[in-house]
Symmetry: D2
Subunit: 335 residues, 4 copies
């Protein structure tokens, strides 16, 4: 049984609390810390059987009964807390992105190199989604041959509020970062070069923050495959999350998940349901699965499924994407 | 918090134990009883935090801390245990069928009439399936107008073993009983008349037991709709569970659930996944939902979603179906 | 080059004229006859290059240059004109049904037996539909194993006018007759027994004519398979024409055809097009293909794809269906 | 009735001959010319009722009975013959591309400017495809709002032979040119900028000819929309032709056409048919429709649906794409 402390009691911290409580057999959340811990949150956490509730996360790091911590605090604290936790001898699950700065991620990587016994996993939950995992499996099993073209469609149902956009690091580090990781995961390759064609088409307020809301991103993968991601901050029909991998022997493609398969035929046409609303609905099961695999890696000492390299790559691609927009040209990752 | 005791630790008893533990917030399984309780089962039950484990279910009925019992024992004991439990002041969730005899079901109904405070729910879990619930919702919302034709396809991935068939009550009371309940649920109507055309096409051994393995069952509903169920004990591609309701303004139809939406296009064609294997995979979420609604009804004293009338109807239809086969003619339920 | 005369210049006669002119290379329509030939129809026919236009079809039968005739007149004249044409040494394509009376069909069969050189084809065009032909092909190729359950859904977009219903012979001989033929075609078997559960749900005026507008028809096929047809005279979403054949090794199923594959996702859902409106849209290509195969059979002296046996069977089933409704019981075809 | 002469009796010339003969009511092919006219081709043409068969196309241009010509000769002769035909007073349908040189296309445009009575249509047949036309129609009807992202997938079933590649002008002018025109058509906008990421992944022999076989092409449209085209010279599952237009109010997407809708479910999965093999199968109906509209424009003096501007645009984009590959940067069309 792995004893887990969660640092950060925001939305994603609560998601992990529930996932572990309900869906991970060999782990228990025993402590949770948040500087802004209020009564309501406290009550929720207690109702899940968590006894130790703190404002200061150091109490978790110092607790010898705790084997692993989940870093679910604000992005700017991910790297520092991760380093502290590694040094405190905890296994670490760090939400994405590890940081917006490659230097800080490298610092984490350096500390990790000195603690080989530490299991350090990055929160790219989509790798554990049933559909995307099926794409990768088909590729691994040779069903589509060599990878030639990857297409990822990733559109949010609605843009975040302008205040969030300001601190988000921009669409590429906030939203597309998942798709960058998906590109690496689905082609099983790192990225060599990025080119972005982007625009502000959804909301001028986003442009006023210096960000974009619509983009087509072309990637050249190191294994020779080409990839394209298309993003929008607002799809009127909801959360659009699809992938299609085309190769020398065939193609594997996924469609969106819906609440039910019911289709109504009437005088207006033949109508099925919209995609599940947003990431909590769409990816809930993947949050459980990433936890199960993290816990297993900690318990068995086996490699984590998503390590610091993946966390570094995705940010590198995101920064290159921003540079591509700024300089309006393809940008190599090794520049 | 509703304290629950489960009577019967077979497959379905374990399913409910897990559903309640993981997916029902306001209930806890505190006791479980099975005359054949072995060490392995005991260990599993204990690992879920159940403290009271018995061989004799009377210990559950006598426990004043227990609010509700789930009757998951063998079919021939459902009615008697249900009656004991009602009289002991427990709420009761009884697995389907309540019994193979209408008289015994009537006895349960009679005892229930004397205990209006008792919440008594029958385990027709498919009513809580996301797809079938969406069909009924579309109908209730008037999207297809008046119901004209209901089509239910229900095919198992493989037949039960011959020993089970002998005690099963025959395909209509064992397998089709779910479809009979679905017919009533989806059209929101009772049945008036049944006609069966059946055959032994899957396995002659089934015929040797006096049962059939393939059938087309036509129902005339009391509200005027016509319904047809087609059954097979073995679909090579797995568990086939679909419904289609056609009405004056349109049609609502569902398709099978799959593990993922991944579709592979190659030189052989365009291939998606087979349906989820069998009822545990296909209907797992519905087991949780039926428990949530049962617990809610107990906690709030509101009506249960599937009462004794539904339990009686489905068996009535099943017995009429057997008579239709025996006498090769349409059989009215009020004969 | 096969020279063809068409008897009857109604809707279906014109369809065949166009099919042959545009889509059949080795045939030409050289004559057309209709007792109600008007100027408009005449102009249309002439525009297609037909030189000989008559009111009296005998002029076609007497024309030694004409090799084959299409009998597209009113149903009550099909048998008599067919017999005249056979005796006149013409090949004959006769629209369905050959007649409503089995005796008259038998007379045609008897005359045919005396003219073995005559190619006589019945107009069950759906056998040549790309979807239904694909179902039969999959079955013939052994892809689904032995046939166990056939399901045919056949719903019209709107009922015929009451005047037509009076002379139509009733829904089973007018509309379902195509489905009866499909049942025989798709299972490659004749029918042994019929049971009908029917109702008047679409329009009381249809019931006042002594006819029904909604039905579920169960068939027991001679090869052991079970089949079910569901009919409605009015589907709000248009012409619904689907088939599904389930067997020991799998299932083959078809869906409706649409004008395009365009699907619109918006705030209301994910909406595709309604089925093609009615039989002229849905089955146009099948009319061409049945003509190509008829012409080939005439030219090469090979067997026709749909002979008098099929024409007889479908009517037999239709009459048994009417009897099943009247006597409310399953009816054997050999009674 | 429009009298048409076809110049060039290769594959596409024959396609137009058949389309007009079978599917265009108010036109007739009266003459056909090809310098390599052989006996077999001649026999075929004669069988379609064409009386005037020449080696020298000037005989067509000089024939006062001929109203319109189709320029279906080799690409390098399109512009010159078009100009001759315009000057000879004929309406002209010119196969795509009009030329590989913008100067030559401009010459045609200049001559056209002097002959305003001439109907000049370019052979971008995909605009008349039922699926793509439905996408444009949805956009025109406001169903998806403002255009934000267009995605076109265009993959051939197999690459042309190396000899053809040498004279093809490269993939962008030979194959992608259709997709460039689709991008303009579907977004109803010209292109502002092009960026190409391409590779040789299908066959090294293609690379040896200095061409590519796989590409992702990003377009910035003048109306602000972003577009992406992905190309492959070989899709193992056949001809992949899809489009998806995403906008402020929703998305419209198309899928591939198949021979039938039959889907087989068996132990291996749920398998539908591959896309129709190649452009003759997939786009046959569109060839008829483009002819019907060309003939209508000639007969009525109305504007043609695809004029010289479209012919010029597509080549401009193609040349910019080649430059983008050569210089590895985004290229503006107005550079």
């Amino acid at each position: 049984m792995l004893n887990i402390g969660i640092i950060g009691a925001g939305r994603i911290g609560k998601v992990h609390l529930q996932s572990i409580s309900y869906h991970v057999k060999n782990a228990a959340v025993v402590a949770m810390a948040d500087p802004f811990m209020n009564e309501e949150t406290k009550a929720l956490i207690e109702s899940m059987g968590v006894k130790k509730i703190y404002k200061d996360y150091h109490q978790i790091l110092e607790d010898p009964q705790i084997d692993a911590v989940l870093v679910c605090s604000s992005t700017d604290t991910h790297a520092a807390i991760s380093i502290e936790a590694i040094k405190a001898g905890k296994h670490v699950f760090c939400e994405k992105p590890v940081d917006h700065s490659l230097e800080k991620i490298q610092e984490v990587a350096d500390v990790l190199a000195e603690h080989p016994e530490c299991r350090f996993q990055v929160g790219f939950n989509r790798r554990f989604d049933h559909n995307f995992a099926a794409v990768r499996r088909a590729y691994d099993e040779g069903k589509i041959g060599e990878a030639h073209i990857l297409k990822i469609t990733s559109r949010d149902p609605e843009p975040p509020n302008p205040a969030y956009i300001k601190v988000s690091g921009g669409m590429f580090l906030d939203m597309t970062i998942h798709d960058f990781d998906m590109a690496c995961f689905l082609t099983n390759s790192d990225v060599e070069e990025v080119y972005v064609q982007s625009a502000v088409l959804v909301d001028p307020a986003i442009g006023e923050q210096g960000d974009v809301d619509t983009a087509i991103i072309t990637l050249k993968m190191k294994n020779g495959a080409l990839a394209v991601i298309d993003n929008s901050r607002r799809a009127a029909y909801g959360y659009d999350q699809r992938a299609e991998l085309f190769g020398s022997k065939g193609m594997v493609a996924t469609s969106n998940d819906t609440l039910s398969s019911a289709v109504i035929s009437d005088a207006n046409g033949v109508t099925g349901e919209k995609p599940l609303f947003f990431f909590l609905e769409r990816y809930m099961e993947s949050f459980s699965e990433e936890m199960r695999q993290f816990v297993d890696a900690c318990e068995k000492g086996t490699p984590v499924p998503v390590g610091i390299h993946a966390g570094m790559q995705a940010v590198k691609i995101g920064l290159a994407a921003k540079k591509s927009v700024a300089e309006h040209r393809p940008v190599r990752l090794d520049e």
